[in-house]
């Protein structure tokens, strides 16, 4: 069923598998008619906590959607204990998502749990015939995931890790400099220091997906405000994706 409203939906868990250190892939069956572009997120109800947990859509097809999440605290811990065939509830159709621009080349830059939303994005861009260069950064090899899946989408996949246990030692920004990838229009998601680095060294336009702690996830509380050149915006409604032109870093 196609709908374009925010809504509470129930999903059946098809699987909830450990795919890297503390990192799970959860495939869900249920209403996905609202997913009109990559980069949107859902706010998952967790019995362990009062507030819901925002998680990006990593992948989707006609009947399922996939989340990839890392266990950080009690909410994601609770989520990791859910079993196949159990249900979860979420507020869905949140956030603006990525705009698929018309350039014929794109640089994808993901760091840690910022990688998931870039997977569906990369798929959609590839379908449009966009030439992809992909950089994925992880803390170390045991934290890495989805590398092979990204390699199916492009021959140009660079990996970096903080300790050099996989790919090249260093940060994604080091790769950008080393391989002279600074002038390709980019899409990025990851920890704030990484986003800041990418934003400052790239000379091209880009889209950056941000994280903020959320109260509601649908625009009512002003908990997630982020400063932009066009005033304060709510990461949960006008974001999480912002353009490199509008973004200003808090502080």
């Amino acid at each position: 069923m196609v709908f374009n409203m925010k809504k509470i939906e129930n999903y059946k868990i098809i699987h909830n598998n450990l795919i890297a250190k503390n990192t799970y892939e959860m495939k869900l069956e249920g209403n996905v008619g609202w997913i009109d572009k990559p980069g949107k997120f859902i706010n998952v109800s967790v019995d362990s906590n009062y507030l819901k947990r925002p998680i990006s859509i990593c992948d989707y097809d006609e009947t399922t959607l996939t989340l990839v999440y890392k266990v950080f605290g009690s909410g994601t811990k609770w989520l990791s204990n859910k079993k196949e065939n159990e249900k979860i509830e979420a507020l869905v159709n949140l956030g603006n998502g990525f705009e698929l621009n018309t350039e014929n080349e794109a640089l994808i830059i993901g760091g840690g749990v910022g990688v998931p939303p870039l997977y569906a994005l990369s798929k959609r861009l590839k379908e449009k015939g966009v030439k992809l260069t992909i950089i994925l950064g992880f803390t170390s090899k045991e934290d890495s995931f989805y590398i092979d899946k990204f390699k199916e989408l492009s021959e140009l996949v660079y990996i970096s890790s903080n300790d050099g246990s996989i790919g090249e030692i260093g940060f994604v920004s080091d790769i950008m400099i080393k391989y002279n990838l600074l002038d390709i229009p980019y899409y990025t998601c990851g920890p704030t220091p990484m986003l800041k680095a990418v934003h400052s060294i790239s000379t091209a336009k880009g889209q950056l997906s941000l994280e903020e702690r959320m109260g509601c996830g649908f625009g009512a509380c002003m908990g997630c405000s982020h400063k932009t050149k066009n005033g304060y915006k709510r990461v949960c409604v006008e974001g999480p994706v912002f353009t490199s032109e509008e973004i200003i870093w808090n502080d």
């Binding site: 409203m5 925010k6 809504k7 509470i8 906590n49 009062y50 507030l51 819901k52 507020l91 903020e212 702690r213 959320m214 109260g215 509601c216 649908f218 625009g219 009512a220 509380c221 002003m222 908990g223 997630c224 405000s225 982020h226 400063k227 304060y232 409604v237 808090n250 502080d251």
Partner: protein, 304 residues
Amino acid sequence: MERLKVKLNNLELDNPVIPASGTYGFGYDYLDFYDPNILGSISLKGTTLHPRFGNVTPRIAECHMGMLNSVGLQNPGIHKVIEEELVKLDKIYHKKIIFNVSGFNIDEYVECVRLLDNIDKVGIIEVNISCPNVKDGGLSFGSDCSSAASVTKEVRKVTTKPLFIKLSPNVSNIADIAKSCEDEGADGISMINTLIGARFNLKTGKPILHNVTGGFSGPAILPVALRMVYEVYERVNIPIIGIGGISSAYDVIEMMYAGASAIQIGSSNLVDPYTCKKVIDDLPLVMDELNIKKITDIIGRAHK
């Protein structure tokens, strides 16, 4: 439905359920979930004379059955709210609203209230003298009888609209403060605003909120709110809007037993955006269960 109707001064509400200031924006963030016209009224996001960007994030933390916020009164300023937000709201919401104002000195309160005096859409002006987020702000006005009285006295001079003073729970004598407001001409009391809390990151030991402290709200504070409404009802003869921790029709009934004439729901909307609708739908069923004919019959029942 007749049996749900309540009155706040001359304003008749279809039911006692009102979303609380700061959790319902300027009224249109819930349009995907239900028609806001089912609500008794709406208390809009706290507005100040000048635009405010609020505090640095993180602004949100949580605890068992509650949350902390240090939003810090982010709002576009009263002129913009009147010229843009109220116009937009009027198209989708056809009843009168509660306009919540804050200030950092008495002149700002007075100027805001004066600007609202001739606006038809505004049914009640709710004067927030209690926001704990702003270091040099609201807290001082709500923390003792004389400053609460002086704000009330000055804003009273510039409006004939119903004035509800919204009280802070972070005081030791809330009934005295309510009484001082009544003595200076307040038409009603809204209570309570948030308590003050803090949380620390287990791994780093650092505060979770950038502002360190934040307003504590949600179901965890219901007993505090009930106790305070009970105390204030004993001291004043003006209506009370009961606020704090309400998430169900049962909580509404309890708050009205304590002395509230209407209620507001805050944090629960953020966690479940359908809360107000569910509460309104459930109220008649719960009233049947408890043998309550008219909701107004139970106001202050705890005192009888």
